[in-house]
């Protein structure tokens, strides 16, 4: 039944009831399980003690400025889309001590904070989220400078992706080409199939460690029919996206319209609350705080998440460069959909829709992009 | 003397592209002047009947401020045209102009030029165009100066 070894790239099928065994097998390898769980009316990412902690039978209802959890008619494990948490909090900690420092007469001695290398398994990461993680990888480990804290955590992550079998009200991964199915970036990728009496997962094995885990799980090779079912579900999901973003010439469009009167329109609605940056899986801005104890003998440097919407984000010489809400919204959107392309060769947005869902004013980045495009006379740029 | 004046005037960008007969008229209004250091070329309130084109040297445009004394607002130097109070009534200088070093300049008879401009509007337009340009540049520079860019921020 169980083969002795499994090739990478192989697709297997397992019964839904065996999902728990998969999690147990991963935990046995020393990974702390982290994944979606229902808490206080939302599906958040937290420690999972067992498969029972998953949001089985729950779904989310999302639209601009609105998020609700509803009971499903079935018992799907991954029948929701996204919540206010992203995986970045486990890779790029919201609060991180960088070093501690002790005074020594005139001088001082700095002790670097050892990067934490805790083994962590991401259960149920969405394809769009895998892309988001890849974007953060590029920033923190792919350039001239490497963040040792990010690197240590990232190297010890086991990824179980859950391909999306339904599209959310604010989702647009199809537009950003980041889903609904993951092509890479996972150790295991699951596509849940719940049809009639059948409830099973088609599992793509993405790595050696993934293969190792699956060896002991009751499984069979995925059949032609399984593949067709998966393809059908994915295609249907892709065609039911809640949102759409036309990315044609998007970078040039935004650069070209830096002075557009349209930004005033958004500015009227944006409260610069920074929710979007907090829930975005790719926003990476941080700030640094230097603190001392009361005696003034010990100092510490801490890094914490920051947002370009903060008033003092761009503070120099007695004032902020971006004082108005208009300029800060423009900065965020232009960075995400234009500047990121020049910086990293790709868009910064993965189409998860969180910024739309969690914006108290219901500002929709796809609509704003559309509106700017439509505000141009027909002759200019591509439509 | 007239020859060197002529060539200087013809070569300078300020008088570029003027019609021949206009240039000749202007040359006729011009004369070479030399000032020692610390010499008041004109004082606030004097009749403004000239404008100057500095060939060499440095001139301080100043105002007498009670309890502060003479305050230099700006300096003008080689290549600068200065003095435009001759263009607008009541044709009086609004500032003092004092040389900071030995200065060699061309002085133009503004009264004479004014009269000619009234007669020959083509010439008048050309002259005003050029002075407008000088005024704009001077205004830009003054505004920058006003911003006190190197001053304290907090």
């Amino acid at each position: 039944m169980a083969a002795e070894s499994i090739e990478i790239g192989k697709d297997l099928t397992i019964e839904a009831k065996h999902l728990g065994q998969v999690l147990t097998a991963i935990a046995k390898q020393g990974y702390e399980l982290v994944g979606p769980t229902v808490r206080e009316g939302a599906i958040v990412y937290d420690r999972l003690n067992s498969v029972d902690d998953l949001p089985r039978g729950w779904t989310d209802e999302q639209s601009p400025g609105k998020y609700r959890l509803n009971r499903r008619k079935d018992q799907a494990f991954f029948g929701y889309n996204s919540g206010p948490h992203t995986w970045k909090r486990f890779l790029h900690s919201p609060l991180q001590c960088l070093w501690k420092c002790k005074k020594n007469g005139n001088a001082f001695q700095i002790i670097e904070e050892t990067p934490e290398a805790r083994k962590c398994a991401f259960i149920g990461a969405r394809p769009c989220e895998l892309h988001a993680i890849a974007k953060l990888d590029k920033i923190f480990t792919g350039g001239t400078y490497v963040d040792p804290h990010y690197k240590a955590r990232r190297e010890n992550v086991f990824v179980v992706c859950a391909n999306c079998t339904q599209a959310g009200g604010t989702c647009f991964c199809a537009s950003m080409k980041t889903g609904p199915k993951a092509a890479s970036g996972y150790d295991l990728a699951l596509t849940e199939v719940l049809e009639g009496e059948d409830h099973y997962f088609v599992v793509s094995v993405g790595s050696e460690r993934g293969a190792e885990v699956m060896v002991a799980i009751p499984h069979r090779d995925a059949s032609e029919k399984d593949h067709e079912t998966v393809d059908r579900i994915i295609a249907e999901t892709a065609s039911h996206m809640g949102r759409r973003l036309d990315t044609t010439g998007l970078k040039e469009l935004l650069y070209r319209n830096a002075d557009s009167a349209y930004w005033d329109n958004v500015a009227k609605r944006c409260m610069t609350c920074a929710n979007c940056t907090m829930v975005c899986p790719t926003c990476f801005c941080t700030t640094v705080e230097d603190v001392t104890d009361l005696a003034g003998d010990q100092a510490e440097r801490w890094r914490r998440w920051d947002s370009c919407f903060a008033m003092d984000f761009s503070y120099i010489h007695g004032g902020s460069v971006r004082m108005t809400a208009k300029s800060r919204y423009r900065q965020w959107m232009t960075h995400k959909l234009a500047a990121w392309v020049d910086q990293f060769g790709e868009f910064g947005c993965v189409g998860c829709g969180r910024c739309i869902t969690w914006c108290p004013a219901g500002i929709d980045i796809t609509e704003e992009a559309s509106a700017i495009r439509n505000s141009e006379p027909v002759a200019v740029g591509a439509r | 003397m007239i020859h060197s004046l002529d060539s200087v005037i013809r070569q300078h960008a300020f008088f570029n592209e003027l019609d021949e007969h206009h240039i000749q008229f202007i040359v006729g209004c011009a004369k070479n002047v030399r000032f020692d250091t610390n010499h008041y070329i004109f004082r606030e309130g004097d009749d403004a009947d000239q404008f100057f084109f500095i060939l060499e040297g440095l001139v301080s445009v100043e105002l007498m401020v009670p309890t502060k004394g003479s305050v230099t607002v700006q300096t003008v130097g080689e290549g600068d045209v200065f003095g435009w109070s001759w263009l607008a009534p009541p044709y009086r200088w609004h500032f003092d102009a004092r040389t900071m070093r030995k200065t060699h300049a061309l002085a133009f008879d503004g009264k004479c030029l004014r009269a000619k401009c009234e007669e020959d509007h083509d010439l008048g337009y050309e002259i005003l165009k050029r002075f407008a340009n000088v005024a704009v540049e001077r205004l830009d520079a003054t505004r920058l100066q006003l911003l006190d860019l190197y001053g304290a921020h907090v």
């Binding site: 005139n106 001088a107 001082f108 700095i110 670097e112 | 300096t75 920058l144 190197y150 907090v154």
Partner: protein
């Protein structure tokens, strides 16, 4: 309008641990003006910056107070000795201004792009600077003077607030005398015995003695001043790829992680602070970018 931001590839820097400050001892404190001072620094433990390019900056850490980006203003050949001329503008620089000989600060760096001194031999160099802007250009001047014969005309146009705010007076005089360096100084406000130019530094550009077709311009100072200086240089025919400016934005990490220093698509900490003007022309001067 084409919007291609081709950001230059910066060669791997020769530096200390970019995340961890390394102790430097203050050897010398010089009060330059009433709000500007220069710290002369040497590594406290023998480990220090081994080389830097003119235009680069360090992150200076004051124990328990914080960290600020300050341009290096010393001669690159004097490494690992460093000088930083700083103006008091906030709590960290204020604390720095209160330090004495023997005190220790932390240094991370060097970071950022450089003035193209070694890349542009055989050219005229026009340096337009105002206020504290002369400090990041001083290393460039040192480099130019060190190989004076490799360059043609070198002109320094320097604007200060008042005569009392003129930095490096003696050094400038020395250079003016010893090397073929044309220096024109102007002040926004004269007074006292000042017998020189009064007016903004941009007014000196139109008649400065350089050949626009052979010129590289280095511009550093308040952004407004740079805007007008670039305008004047362009009026004279200096082309955008040959005009270099030094930009400044809020900076927290200096390694491209915190996101604060972004200027359009450029990270000022690693794509700048020195930019050739053609690279940033589309956004330069745009409000609140």
């Amino acid at each position: 309008m084409a919007h291609t931001f081709e950001l230059p590839i910066i060669e791997a820097p020769v530096m200390l641990d970019p995340m961890m400050p390394v102790p430097y001892r203050i050897e010398r404190v010089k009060r330059e003006t009433n709000d500007t001072f220069t710290l002369g620094l040497m590594p406290a433990n023998g480990v220090g910056v081994t080389s830097f390019g003119p235009g680069q900056f360090n992150m200076l850490y004051i124990f328990g107070v914080g960290e600020v980006p300050i341009s290096i203003s010393s001669d690159p050949r004097s490494c690992p000795a460093l000088e930083h001329t700083t103006r008091v503008v906030g709590p960290v620089t204020k604390a720095m201004g209160g330090l004495k000989r023997g005190d220790v600060i932390g240094i991370r760096g060097p970071f950022g792009s450089r003035w193209p001194v070694t890349e542009e031999m055989g050219r005229d160099f026009v340096i337009v600077t105002g206020g504290i802007g002369l400090a990041p250009l001083r290393p460039a001047l040192y480099q130019l003077m060190a190989q004076r014969e490799k360059y043609r005309k070198i002109v320094l146009l320097y604007g200060a607030r008042t005569p009392q705010d003129i930095l490096y007076r003696r050094e400038l005089e020395h250079w003016r005398g010893k090397f073929d360096l044309e220096i024109q100084v102007t002040v926004d406000r004269g007074g006292g015995n000042w017998r020189g130019n009064v007016g903004v530094v941009t007014t000196l550009i139109s008649r400065a003695p350089f050949d626009p077709s052979e010129t590289v311009a280095l511009v550093c100072g308040p952004e407004v001043m740079m805007r007008f200086a670039v305008m004047e240089l362009q009026k004279r025919g200096v082309r955008s790829p040959k005009i270099f400016v030094s930009m400044e934005r809020n900076m927290k990490c200096a390694v491209g992680f915190c996101g604060h220093c972004q200027y359009g698509p450029a990270f000022i900490c690693k794509d700048g602070p020195v930019f050739s003007f053609d690279r940033i022309e589309p956004i330069f001067g745009k409000a609140e970018i």
